[in-house]
Symmetry: C2
Subunit: 414 residues, 2 copies
């Protein structure tokens, strides 16, 4: 079973929008065990859409088209697909009612334009999902199939997951379950991790039940993805559990979370579990640590606040940093204890450093002091990041939170 | 002159990387006055690359290929292009020396693999830019042309701007200069702005020297892009100046900046110009205002710091917020004056609200109080954002900074 993706939209060609849909669908297809050899983007133009759809159907067994299903006259995917199928259009009365219900549910009346969205090629079937007002369509073309889904990412995703992937897997006769699990790590480079896991990767390459892949994701950590294939859900989960245990045994506590867990959410959960509150004292990150922590819903259970001490005399006046250099062990230690005291928190993290591009306080850009205060005891560490301003700040955020995570784990004897 | 873009890389098909290159090149082509009707992505596979390059050359006059020019054996763009050209490969001795110089300049010796990057199809020309170690190639194919550039975005951009666009414009006989200028605005919806500018857009559509387009960009503001075409640099700049003045006369001070200026950089520049220092007091944004301000290099000239008061008793204890509801005019007013006092700043902004998804303090998610303190006088305003947690926080950041910007402009009588 070979699949292709065609994204429709002049705004994609003009670069007004980046096509993230095709990348996302490509990933889902790979995880579902379906080959995809080409992505194409074309504008909202009948002839060029027709050519692209036909080209793709000529090469592949199935084509997924995103976009061009809206209510305006630019949106012509439905009509062009009918032409490819060699059929006319028919108004689907059940669809009219479903689309009207979408509007009724929001207390609005439906513009007449939206009725166009209930017109489908004869022989096509509307998908059962209708997260917006644009229906997705399953369109048989001879022995092959074309799926048309909206370009709005969250509408598209619901239909790909709910209808397209199961349908493709059934057509392809794939009964195996393919699933992946991501271990998020911090503290080791990609090459370092690859070296440490080299024997395990060799073992898997020689015929293991799963595969490993690495993906560096900046402030989100360095991800190790385990992918496994088996006959049933239970079997695939068991393979993933087994391989996760093997990888953890090799790389240890640098794994901070799984899948959608972030460093922030993991640290906050651990604080809540231990009944501790957190404060931060930030200089070079300017509030980014607090901003990331409070992006997590429910962070108020543990997070009390921050003193962003960007000016030197704020560090001294508010946090009790002694006279002398502000990018130093003494300064960051005083900031960490000051944060606990001033904000009334049990534990704290503090950072001070030189984001660049200019040196500061006699220190080169990338020089960062990070401290954690747990049970009244401060531990400080100096780093020298070889990055630009943005990455230096981002790496500081995840590094200092990771230092706190490791101390919290040690505290409960984990 | 019709152009197509082909991106090479299995990681694009698998969704491990989003293809931002094609969007960026598409935008540059549009600005250069060159039509582009299709983007394609294929994997690192000889046959499928061959087919994609030939398809594209069949439809278009020029094809831009990104990726597959690295030193490893996966990188086969050079060889496949030679096959499309119907020629062999030759080692370009001048290129060998240029690539070696790139390594020498970094004090490293060149791995033998990198010599492959000096092999070019007979008849192809290496581009003059060499930002990395992968040379870009101009490859004539009959009357048509194929440009091969690396997939690394900053290497690709340098070659597109330096060689590909000028060469395409020359081939297309385009001597006109096309340039655009972006006015960044805040405070009005896209439809509101379109309505206000409707007459001007009609005037331009009827034969004006420039065009207007809108682009909503979240926390970066709503952008109004003016694009103009003329025979010379001086003429095109004069048209842009003229149209910018017209648009500003219609939409007024909601224009906060031009091109790469952000709300943060504009506010910081205005503070420096007026010799004022700034402090912030943040609750629902949790440090995001400070983080954005300090992302600007040189922000320490005006920014002193922030009290992130996430917990209610931190608001009261540190900022002097009175007993009572913390999402209220009284609370945000006390936060704004408290920020100036505690952090020793001339002016301040303060925000408190409910990011969601749960209601808080009897208030619905999206309810936000924002305050600015200038010359000791606080102005507060209430907003009700219909967004999720992330967008509510982001809109709060730019909205409160915009309120400060307008007060600073009024202060110096602008």
């Amino acid at each position: 079973m070979l699949c292709e993706i065609v994204a429709v939209g002049t705004e994609l060609l003009l670069g007004q929008i980046v096509d993230t849909n095709s990348a996302w669908i490509g990933e889902q297809l790979a995880l579902a065990g379906i080959d995809c050899q080409r992505h194409t983007a074309v504008g909202d133009n009948r002839e060029r859409m027709l050519e692209a759809f036909r080209d793709a159907l000529g090469r592949a067994d199935a084509v997924i088209v995103t976009g061009g299903l809206g209510p305006t006259h630019d949106d012509i995917t439905r009509e062009v697909v009918a032409e490819v199928m060699g059929v006319g259009m028919v108004r689907d009365q059940a669809l009219v009612e479903r689309i009207e219900a979408r509007f009724g549910g929001r207390g609005r009346t439906m513009p007449a334009n939206n009725l166009r969205q209930a017109d489908v090629p004869v022989g096509a079937t509307a998908m059962s999902e209708l997260p917006g007002t644009a229906p997705g369509l399953i369109c048989p073309v001879g022995e092959k199939v074309l799926y048309a889904v909206p370009g709005v990412p969250w509408e598209m995703r619901e239909m790909i997951e709910g209808t397209v992937l199961p349908d493709l897997r059934e057509r392809a006769g794939i009964s195996a379950v393919i699933r992946s699990r991501t271990l998020r790590t911090w503290g080791r480079s990609e090459s370092g991790l690859a070296e440490q896991l080299a024997d395990e990767i060799d073992r898997l390459d020689a015929g293991g039940a799963s595969t490993l892949a690495f993906l560096a994701s900046g402030m989100e950590g360095l991800k190790v993805r385990i992918t496994a294939k088996a006959a049933t859900d239970a079997e695939v989960e068991s393979i993933l559990d087994d391989e996760e245990a093997k990888v953890r045994a090799i790389i240890g506590p640098i794994v901070f979370g799984l899948d959608d867990q972030t460093m922030e959410s993991v640290v906050l959960d651990e604080l809540v579990a231990q009944g501790l509150t957190l404060a931060t004292a930030e200089s070079l990150t300017g509030g980014m640590i607090g901003s990331r922590l409070t992006a997590v819903s429910g962070s108020s259970r543990a997070y009390r606040g921050s003193v962003v001490a960007y000016a030197g005399d704020v560090k001294r006046g508010l946090l009790g940093v002694p006279e002398g250099p502000v990018v130093s062990e003494e300064a960051v230690t005083a900031m960490a204890t000051g944060a606990c005291r001033v904000l009334g928190a049990d534990v704290s993290v503090a950072v001070t450093g030189v984001a660049g591009p200019e040196p500061h306080d006699g220190q080169e850009p990338g020089t960062v002091w990070m401290a954690t205060c747990v049970d009244g005891r401060v531990e400080a560490v100096r780093a020298r990041f070889p990055f630009d301003r943005t990455r230096t700040r981002e790496f500081t955020v995840i590094s200092v939170l990771d230092a706190l995570r490791l101390r919290l784990l040690a505290r409960r004897g984990a």
